[in-house]
């Protein structure tokens, strides 16, 4: 299929049909026949490689956008389905070593991923809070209203609240007291607690939870299968290795994109190069890492494209408002209207895609649990599992 079809686009239905086509192919893989199995394994790996290449081919404007992340999650779901299909009906094999250990390890990793899914939902909630500040901004400056001092002040405060919300927790307290002084009443003794009102949300995880540590735990010890293992498991060990990396990468990319507690992206990807998906996964990993190192993205709370958009248009808006001298001349007014339009575009994009993405994260959560339960049950669990 031509590469043009796979450009990440708001019309993600194109990419969806691509993935749903794959989904149909999954069903044909459910088979015990050994030739079919080795074919199935190859197909699985090829699919993974194709999906990742497709994700990698996104333009710089689309990489890590909300629609791209949705595609990423879709990819995970399809891959896990294929993996599950490969494992189905192989009860005896799954109960033998080394496959038994490999499968259990995968499911242990997937449980760790569940926590990240929950943390991501917190991050999505944060973005919603920023969306609300944008809404206030638009309320103040959008529409036919004439632009007076009051509106600008209101917009400015929303921008400051937005900036505070987008800061790292530790930095926010000092900014908050500044903010209070300019907008609140001076000379009023406020309790510390009210400072925290400006931190929109507390994380739902405990203070000691760390996304970086969780990622490390997931990525820890993913060892490429040795030839004798591959032989002993009829190739299934390769499928496990592949799926482990798909899981690891998807979770890592999620953490990269969405704000969460203690995001750290410096985890290692030691993929054995002989696998056909190794290239695509490493190139994607590289691209995202590069993005994280860019000067204007280094301190961002998340690499999501839309977060960058918010940062950019907030910055522009801030600068603009600061430069405003009332009464506005036509030129200035046009400029303001222009910037407001920018904000509106970002706001609408987030409003449209954020909820569906959250539902998808929840779906990923469900499917991980379901897959794990079904597979472990069909294997006849060990009494300790």
């Amino acid at each position: 299929m031509p590469a043009a079809d796979f450009q990440g686009s708001p019309a993600s239905h194109t990419s969806r049909s691509f993935l749903s086509l794959r989904r149909d192919q999954v069903h044909s893989m459910d088979s015990n026949d050994s030739t079919n199995q080795s074919q199935g394994l190859e197909t699985f790996q090829r699919h993974v490689a194709d999906f990742l290449a497709d994700l990698s081919s996104a333009s710089s404007g689309d990489l890590l956008s909300l629609s791209w992340v949705q595609k990423l999650l879709d990819v995970f779901l399809v891959c896990q389905e294929e993996f599950r299909a490969l494992l189905s009906g192989k009860k005896e094999e799954l109960n033998r070593q080394p496959m038994n250990r490999l499968v259990n390890e995968y499911f242990d990793r997937s449980v760790k991923a569940l926590d990240v899914c929950n943390a991501i939902r917190d991050g999505i909630e944060q973005i919603r809070q920023w969306q609300m500040q944008l809404e206030i901004l638009l309320c103040a400056l959008d529409g036919q209203k004439s632009l007076g001092e009051g509106q600008f002040r209101r917009a400015k405060r929303a921008l400051i609240d937005l900036a505070i919300g987008m800061l790292d927790e530790k930095e926010s307290n000092s900014v908050v007291s500044q903010r209070n002084r300019s907008f609140g009443r001076s000379g009023v003794n406020r309790e510390n607690r009210s400072m925290e009102n400006h931190r929109s949300l507390s994380w739902s995880v405990s203070r000691s939870w760390s996304a970086a540590r969780q990622l490390q735990a997931i990525g820890n010890n993913i060892i490429a299968p040795r030839p004798n293992e591959i032989l002993a498991t009829n190739g299934l060990a390769v499928a496990a290795y592949t799926m482990n990396y798909v899981l690891y990468f998807v979770i890592w990319a999620l953490v990269a994109a969405i704000p969460c507690q203690d995001r750290g992206l410096q985890t290692h990807f030691h993929v054995a190069r002989q696998f056909i998906w190794a290239g695509p996964i490493l190139s994607l990993h590289e691209k995202i890492l590069e993005e994280s190192k860019k000067r204007d993205r280094r301190n961002s709370t998340g690499l999501l494209r839309e977060i960058h958009e918010i940062e950019k248009c907030a910055r522009h808006m801030n600068a603009l408002i600061d430069s405003v001298n009332l009464p506005l001349n036509d030129e200035k007014e046009d400029e303001v209207r222009q910037r407001v339009k920018e904000v509106k575009i970002v706001y609408e994009a987030i409003k449209e895609s954020l909820n569906p993405m959250e539902r998808q994260v929840r779906e990923v959560f469900h499917r991980i649990v379901r897959s794990r339960t079904e597979c472990l049950d069909s294997m006849g669990r060990a009494s300790t599992s």
Partner: protein
């Protein structure tokens, strides 16, 4: 006439205003005086004035705005909280209302430049007023919340919750007082999270903010504060932020049990008391603005609710180890009982997802319970056959499984529900039995076949039969002794009691038939000496075999006293009959019984006492 008089008065007022219209302060003051004089005048004055020409229009808007500016600005610059004085707050609100009214009235004419600039100033003033209102709003919430501590319980012990108790006699639901001075024994207690007066104040402010288009800021200020308050209240109930599924997996079971206890209490208090209380507060503060109310409520409660649900989720996802059953059942039942309340309090459009999540997690808990039973089945199936119990006694797995199931079936109703819920398609089964009973009989089957495999380890078939007897008897007893009896049905009990009897028969046959065979005498009349010799041999053989059996089988175990007696009696009665007739024959053949006497080791009583030492087990007194 009155009408005319009024008209005249208004005309005069207008004239004065017109005349003095260009001297700002005096004109405003005069208008102010007129307006304050009579409310109608105020209306009529502004009304009439808008009908005049542009210049007068502008200056009226101007004047109105100037007056409003003064009324509002004097509060904006004040250091004190406006709401610390009710006259101040009323005046401020009045001014804001007027300002909102002016903006509304003049906006249609905004095309005109002078009006537009006036409106700009009005909006500016409005924004400053709104920001101040927001500050006052926040301060009211903080100060109001301080004097109230809803989590103060009589003995400081948050574990004093018991939803099963009746309403306390000294019902004290006077809204103004500290609401929870006694144990929360009834969830119907009304908790007002803030003093009534404060709530009214908050409402008055919220009303203006929403009408003026600053509803989002108001809602945000409200929900930020209440959310923190709620989280603090919940954390005082002892529930840690344990939503990490990983942590829950790794926890020691004893610790997790404790967390589950805390969770059940916290969830009940949150859903039945805190959330409804927050809902009431929201509705009162945002009265008349249902959308703002719904939105704010969702923002306040979603975090805590999500946290509670995530813990239940983690329990559902956790290990299927059978000993977890009772606690998982507890969480299942707790959530089941809470769902109607959850649906009631989270009934608006924004909160629907919370209901759905609660239900889906509840279903997962059901799955987990089914999974635990499946795991138990696996355990039974996998229990190795090589562990033979010495003396053919009760096997630990029999004891474990039967006691486990017996206790589990005390939650029979819940389990029935769990198993029924697990079926997506109609299952083919006899209509009289529930899925639970199907599962239970399946488990019994598994247990029996496992025991049978174990019994084959014994080289002595008689011992195998004793083993089966023991375990079978235990099973039947436990079944009769519990819900299992009605679950499995009378037929099942009859059949298995018969099975135990069959093992009894098998035992009898394999142990004693040979010995009894020895005691059989041919009826052919050989010479007495031949017969006597044969009898001597027989007696010797009998003695040996009998001794042998007694030696071996005295170490065997029959755990059930009744069964033991039954066995001894039946062994003895068979034996004694045969022995007696044998001895009889011996004595009739031997004239001089003394000859045989030294060979005859036992008489009937001796036999009995020997038999009574059977099945003693390893030296334990029986």
């Amino acid at each position: 006439m009155a009408e005319n008089g009024e008209e005249k008065l208004i005309a005069v007022a207008r004239h004065i205003a017109k005349t003095l219209g260009h001297t700002d302060n005096t004109a405003d003051d005069i208008l102010q005086i007129f307006s304050n004089f009579d409310g109608r005048l105020r209306e009529k004055l502004s009304e009439k004035l808008t009908e005049d020409d542009d210049v007068l229009n502008n200056s009226s808007l101007d004047q109105t705005l100037k007056a409003l500016d003064r009324r509002i600005s004097r509060y904006l610059s004040s250091d004190r909280w406006i709401w610390s004085d009710s006259a101040d707050s009323a005046a401020f609100l009045d001014a804001v209302d007027d300002l909102i009214g002016v903006i509304r009235d003049w906006t249609p004419m905004a095309a005109e430049k002078s009006v537009a600039s006036g409106l700009d100033r009005a909006e500016d003033l409005l924004q400053r007023g709104m920001f101040r209102l927001e500050d006052e709003f926040k301060s009211l919430m903080e100060r109001g919340g301080e004097s109230f501590d809803v989590t103060r319980y009589s003995n400081g012990d948050p574990t004093g919750f018991d939803s099963d108790e009746d309403i306390d006699e000294d019902e004290n639901d006077d809204d103004e007082e500290i609401p929870v001075a006694h144990r929360i024994s009834d969830f119907n207690i009304v908790i007002d999270a803030l003093p009534s007066g404060t709530i009214n104040d908050l409402h008055e402010i919220a009303k203006r903010m929403v009408i003026a288009g600053y509803g989002k800021e108001c809602s945000h200020a409200y929900s930020s504060y209440r959310r923190e308050f709620l989280e603090e209240s919940v954390s005082r109930l002892g529930l840690h932020k344990l939503s990490s599924i990983d942590e829950v997996q790794k926890m020691q079971w004893a610790d997790l049990e404790e967390e589950i206890e805390k969770w059940i209490k916290a969830a009940n208090v949150a859903v039945r008391i805190f959330f409804p209380s927050e809902r009431r507060l929201c509705d009162r503060v945002f009265y008349g603005f249902s959308n703002a109310s719904d939105l704010s409520f969702m923002e306040v409660c979603r975090g805590v609710m999500t946290q509670l649900l995530q813990f239940a989720d983690a329990v559902a996802i956790g290990s299927r180890a059978p000993e977890r059953l009772y606690k998982v059942l507890d969480v299942f039942e707790a959530l089941r009982d809470l769902i109607p309340h959850i649906q009631m309090v989270f009934s608006d459009q924004y909160c629907l997802f919370l209901c759905n999540e609660a239900i889906s997690i509840w279903k997962k808990l059901g799955e987990a319970i089914r999974g635990i039973f499946m795991e138990l089945e696996n355990l039974i199936r996998r229990d190795p056959a090589k562990a033979a119990v010495p003396g053919g006694g009760l096997h630990p797995i029999t004891r474990y499984v039967m006691n486990y199931i017996r206790v589990a079936c005390q939650s029979r109703q819940t389990l029935e529900q769990v198993f029924e819920d697990g079926v997506s398609a109609p299952v083919d089964r006899p209509s009289s039995s529930s899925l639970l009973s199907v599962h239970m009989s399946w488990m019994m089957e598994l247990l029996e076949s496992n025991l049978e495999a174990k019994s084959k380890i014994y080289r002595d078939t008689a011992l195998a039969s004793v083993f089966m007897m023991n375990n079978g008897r235990y099973i039947v007893q436990k079944v009769k002794d519990s819900e299992l009896g009605s679950l499995l049905g009378d037929d099942w009990t009859r059949k298995h009691t018969a099975k135990v009897k069959q093992y009894h028969v098998n035992y009898q046959r394999s142990s004693w038939s040979k010995v009894l065979q020895v005691l059989k005498l041919d009826n052919n009349s050989s010479s007495p000496t031949v017969e006597l010799r044969a009898m001597k041999e027989k007696i010797k053989l009998f003695n040996n075999q009998f001794d042998e059996i007694c030696k071996t089988q005295s170490n065997w175990v029959i755990f059930d006293e009744q069964l033991r007696e039954e066995l001894r009696i039946s062994v003895f009665s068979n034996l004694s009959m045969a022995y007696r007739s044998f001895l009889g024959r011996v004595q009739s053949v031997a004239d001089t019984g003394r000859q045989m006497e030294r060979h005859i080791k036992y008489n009937a009583e001796d036999l009995e006492s020997k038999v009574n030492e059977l099945f003693r087990g390893n030296g334990r007194r029986k």
